[in-house]
């Protein structure tokens, strides 16, 4: 036998069944009158035969769709529920943050609530007292710690809850989608603290829908799908596999005509121009060049702008502008910038704008498109914020901000080596 260290959390063949009563009897009359139909319930398996190990000192992520059993698994690990079959063993003191500040009593002061929460997490009064200063400092509630928590704002509430959970020296920390709280500054402090805990060897298990967060924070990831374990392994590998499937599912969804992206539903109100030549349609073509495809961040894409000229138009210029949903102008481009002179056009045709690697982060954007004369001064046709542009996450890691720069990084390390 090798003496491999025992994992921090051992999950063995765990299933969890919930009974869904069509009409749960919580009063006596029903219990008596419907005695014969007592067993009228449906069984719902939130988890089925899940086995996994969380190694000591690792940060472990759980991903999956809503209802895939992530939160149920967390609750089993935290000991809130018992598995129907199988075992969950946690080797170490578990501190769970399933809802920050859940145990606060509104009438009591922040300080009293810290003692209460500490006791719930299994700390002695002395241990809580020792951590009190760092909790108060971390939460930034120095002035309010002795006022009843009922007057706290929701942000203060959560800050105090987080400060307690991370400062009470946990051995295993369980976090359920709660880090996305508080202001930017507090969030940054939370992350710093989580990284600190990681360095100190605290085992962290977290559930998040933000794959970016999971990829940056976690060492290992388990992917749950309808209560079953699909894959477990290194964070990068599993999130990629998960993303691939999500994108495939999206593609299938896109085949429904109702969900097609090349929207003909132009917003007439936003249209301007003299209309000797008009834009008739815009198509978005994804990596495989088919229409109605989804655009994927970091992969090739093509915007096809169809026009129709009633009379000969000399040297028209087609341009685009991309805006975020809250109307930040991300970028703009037009044919003249690329010296594309098509001469005189008449009748129907189209212009393609091609990207080798679409440099926008996933999200929804609005596209403005226009046809002007060569001087750009006269507008033939302008569709302002008229097309919805939806970009899906791809296999490339998500960048910060909105735009991916086509950047090369060069490092010079250790000049005298």
């Amino acid at each position: 036998m090798t003496d491999a260290p025992r994992p921090a959390i051992e999950v063995r063949d765990v299933s969890k069944r919930f009974r869904i009563y069509n009409d749960r009897k919580t009063n006596l009359k029903e219990a008596v009158t419907s005695r014969r139909r007592r067993t009228r319930h449906e069984d719902f398996y939130a988890l089925r035969d899940v086995s996994l190990d969380v190694p000591v000192g690792k940060t472990f992520g759980l991903i999956g769709h809503n209802g895939s059993g992530k939160s149920t698994l967390l609750k089993l690990i935290a000991g809130i529920h018992r598995p129907t079959t199988g075992t969950v063993t946690a080797n170490g003191r578990v501190s769970a943050m399933l809802e920050l500040g859940a145990g606060f009593h509104p009438e009591l002061s922040g300080r009293d609530n810290v003692y209460l929460n500490g006791a719930i997490l299994g700390m002695s009064r002395k241990q809580v007292a020792a951590a009190m200063d760092s909790i108060i400092e971390f939460s930034g509630l120095e002035e309010f710690i002795d006022t009843p928590v009922k007057v706290y704002s929701s942000g203060m509430y959560v800050r105090l809850g987080f400060a307690i959970a991370v400062n009470l020296d946990p051995e295993i920390l369980i976090i359920d989608e709660v880090i996305a709280v508080g202001d930017e500054e507090f969030q940054r402090r939370c992350f710093d603290h989580l990284h600190g805990l990681r360095r100190r060897g605290v085992t962290i298990v977290l559930v998040s829908h933000s794959l970016g967060l999971v990829q940056t924070l976690c060492d290992e990831v388990a992917w749950l799908d309808r209560g079953e374990l699909r894959e477990v392994g290194s964070a990068g590998h599993v999130t990629q596999a998960y993303l691939r499937e999500v994108n495939e599912a999206e593609l299938q969804g896109a085949q429904d005509p109702g969900d097609a992206i090349a929207s003909d539903a132009f917003a007439e109100a936003s249209r301007q121009g003299s209309h000797e030549i008009v834009i008739t349609r815009v198509e978005f073509l994804g990596p495989d060049g088919r229409e109605g495809n989804r655009l994927i961040a970091g992969e090739s894409a093509r915007f096809r702008i169809h026009y129709s000229a009633r009379e000969p138009i000399e040297r028209p210029v087609v341009g685009i502008g991309i805006y975020t949903e809250n109307d930040t102008y991300v970028t703009g481009d037009h044919m003249r910038m690329h010296d594309l002179d098509v001469g005189t056009v008449k009748g129907d045709g189209y212009v393609d704008v091609e990207f080798d690697a679409l440099g926008l982060n996933p999200g929804s954007y609005l596209l403005t498109t226009a046809i002007t004369d060569w001087s750009l001064a006269h507008q033939y046709d302008l569709w302002d914020h008229a097309f919805e542009l939806r970009i899906r996450p791809g296999s490339a890691p998500e960048y910060h901000g909105m735009v991916r720069l086509d950047a090369n990084w060069i490092a010079k390390v250790g000049a005298n080596r």
């Binding site: 919930f18 009897k25 919580t26 009063n27 006596l28 009359k29 219990a31 935290a78 000991g79 809130i80 529920h81 018992r82 578990v94 769970a96 399933l98 809802e99 859940a102 145990g103 009593h105 009438e107 009591l108 009293d112 003692y115 209460l116 006791a119 719930i120 997490l121 299994g122 700390m123 002695s124 009064r125 009843p148």
Partner: protein, 286 residues
């Protein structure tokens, strides 16, 4: 062979008992926190604050004294010192015990339901809020009992038998808590229990010799089979025992003390075992 097998079974039983009781101590801090949370929040926001813990029972006492002592003229017996004959003191001696029982039983159900949101988010033993609320009730009873004893000293009706008071309170605490564990779990599964218990307690209040002396019942329903049930009702026995030691200044009979000890310890163990078995999935019911 057989003997050693018997021994291991016995040993295992002992170990399992120790395993059950030890975590109880480990969670003493948590129980204390629940108790202090209840006490601290009880009178928050009221001007008179803790004074209410005395005003409240005294007001009840005043109402009963006026109705039953003054209007209906229930006669109190002569006390142990030979001349004290006061209905209010006689009543209060019983009321202290009743209030404690009432507070523990209703508090048990309320505290488990109240801890529901917490139990769904963090693991901790579900009996701890119940025990915490019982300790909060004991604190209140301690105050009332201290006041009662001060009154007895003031009227000169006191004897060594006062040492029985803490023993009786401890037994009553065990009895009430055992019952409280059971009812709290029933109530978590079926919320009607709370209302049934309210009605039951109302009935029980008049079915105990609190506002009237037990002799009155014995006069009316002498030798009726139901009189036995009335008499052996543990609460009747607790109340009578408390009147023995504080009002009549005599030690309760050995039989009475033995009966109360067996019943209280039995109810506590039964309630605890039932709760431990049944509360494992209680977080899904709350």
């Amino acid at each position: 062979m057989e003997r050693s097998a018997h021994k291991t079974v016995k040993g295992r039983f002992l170990i399992s008992m120790v395993q059950q009781v030890l975590p109880t101590w480990r969670h003493a801090g948590l129980v204390g926190n629940f108790a202090s949370r209840e006490l601290k929040s009880r009178f928050k926001g009221s001007v008179l604050g803790w004074a209410w813990s005395l005003i409240n029972p005294l007001a009840t006492l005043a109402v009963y004294s006026i109705v039953f002592g003054f209007f209906l003229k229930f006669p109190p017996p002569v006390a142990g010192n030979g001349h004290l004959k006061n209905f209010s003191i006689y009543l209060f001696t019983a009321l202290v015990m009743w209030n404690f029982f009432f507070a523990v039983v209703t508090g048990s159900m309320g505290s488990l339901i109240g801890a529901g949101p917490l139990l769904r988010k963090i693991y901790f033993p579900p009996w701890t809020p119940i025990a915490g609320s019982a300790i909060a009730a004991l604190t209140q009873t301690g105050i009332e009992t201290a006041l009662l004893i001060v009154v007895y000293i003031a009227v000169g009706n006191i004897s060594w038998t006062v040492v029985f008071v803490p023993i009786l309170l401890a037994l009553l605490a065990a009895f009430s808590l055992g019952l409280g564990y059971m009812l709290a779990l029933f109530n978590a599964k079926l919320r009607d229990v709370n209302y049934i218990v309210q009605v039951g307690l109302n009935l029980l209040f008049y079915a105990c010799p609190i506002i009237y002396p037990i002799s009155k019942i014995q006069e009316v329903v002498h030798n009726h089979p139901w009189a036995k049930i009335y008499y052996w009702n543990p609460l009747t026995q607790f109340i009578e025992a408390n009147r023995d030691v504080l009002y009549d200044l005599r030690a309760p009979s050995v039989g009475r003390m033995a009966y109360l000890t067996v019943v209280s310890v039995g109810v506590l163990i039964a309630g605890w075992l039932y709760f431990e078995r049944g509360s494992r999935d209680v977080s899904e019911e709350l």
